[in-house]
Amino acid sequence: MNAPDETIHQPVRLRIMAALTALSARDEGLDFARLKSLTGATDGNLGAHIDHLARAGYVEVSKAFVARRPRTTVKASSAGRAAFARHVAFLREIIART
């Protein structure tokens, strides 16, 4: 049986990983504003959760200036994709056992 992933288990981080892994690996990722709207988190809260995922090696964060405005883009790493897939499989196993 798969084991739960403590990093991904937290609801906001689960939503972040769900959003990022819905895109293909070739995709450029999602920007901070879009992630904020998808997760319903505040700026500070979202930033903290993204940092947590980045420290675990699950996401890659890039910052750039677009039209003179700072833009943060977040993308799932291959390790993050694999961890998310394992966590979702773990959740499905819990349901399948009932």
């Binding site: 609801p11 689960l14 939503r15 895109l23 293909s24 879009r34 998808l38 979702v88 499905r92 349901i95």
Partner: protein, 183 residues
């Protein structure tokens, strides 16, 4: 860590909801780019047709060809989400609509220039409205809304119909495309 089946079910439902929103947003984004492209082509097409009415038919054929090729390229760029076959299916849908339109406008129907100017955009907007039943309400709103405005221009814009189409149809496509990209 202990997770109950109810909690696991709620988490999976949350995941599915987020994934659905991301995919919907990507569809709107790609469709928004294509809609803006066609808006620009329509505006230019009507302006050139007003400036050189004798060449309008050939100018529109060239504009349509340019639009189809550019659409295909944009679809190929975004095929990762929509699936590899989607651009080919879209091209097939374009071809079917075009053949249907040619059959009715050139062979079966006896349309005048004004009727043709109303027929072609509403035919393709009908496709947008149909797509809305599968891909999102914005397509339906665009298809029905712009069709209504085109018909209003057909009946009431008088000699300014071409300009009406450039602004309402072309400009409407550009605005709707920008709206979709923000969704």
């Amino acid at each position: 860590m202990t997770i109950s089946p109810n909690e696991a079910g709620a988490m999976l439902a949350d995941v599915e909801a987020v994934v659905a929103r991301v995919k919907q947003s990507r569809i709107y984004r790609r469709a928004g780019e294509i809609t803006i492209l066609w808006g620009a082509i329509i505006v230019l097409g009507h302006l050139v047709a007003m400036a050189a009415p004798r060449w309008a038919l050939w100018e529109w054929r060239a504009a349509d060809l340019l639009g189809v090729v550019a659409t295909f390229v944009l679809m190929l760029r975004g095929r990762s989400l929509a699936g590899t076959l989607f651009p080919l299916r879209l091209l097939g849908a374009f071809a079917l609509f075009f053949v249907f339109g040619l059959a009715w406008s050139d062979l079966i129907g006896r349309f005048g220039p004004r009727e043709l100017d109303a027929f072609w955009p509403t035919l393709f907007l009908f496709g947008y409205a149909l797509a809305g039943l599968w891909f999102g309400a914005m397509f339906l709103a665009l298809g029905l809304g712009l069709s209504g405005l085109i018909l209003a221009g057909y009946f009431w814009s008088g000699e300014w119909f071409n300009l009406w189409l450039a602004i309402v149809n072309g400009g409407g496509f550009v605005l709707c495309g920008l709206w979709m990209r923000r969704a």
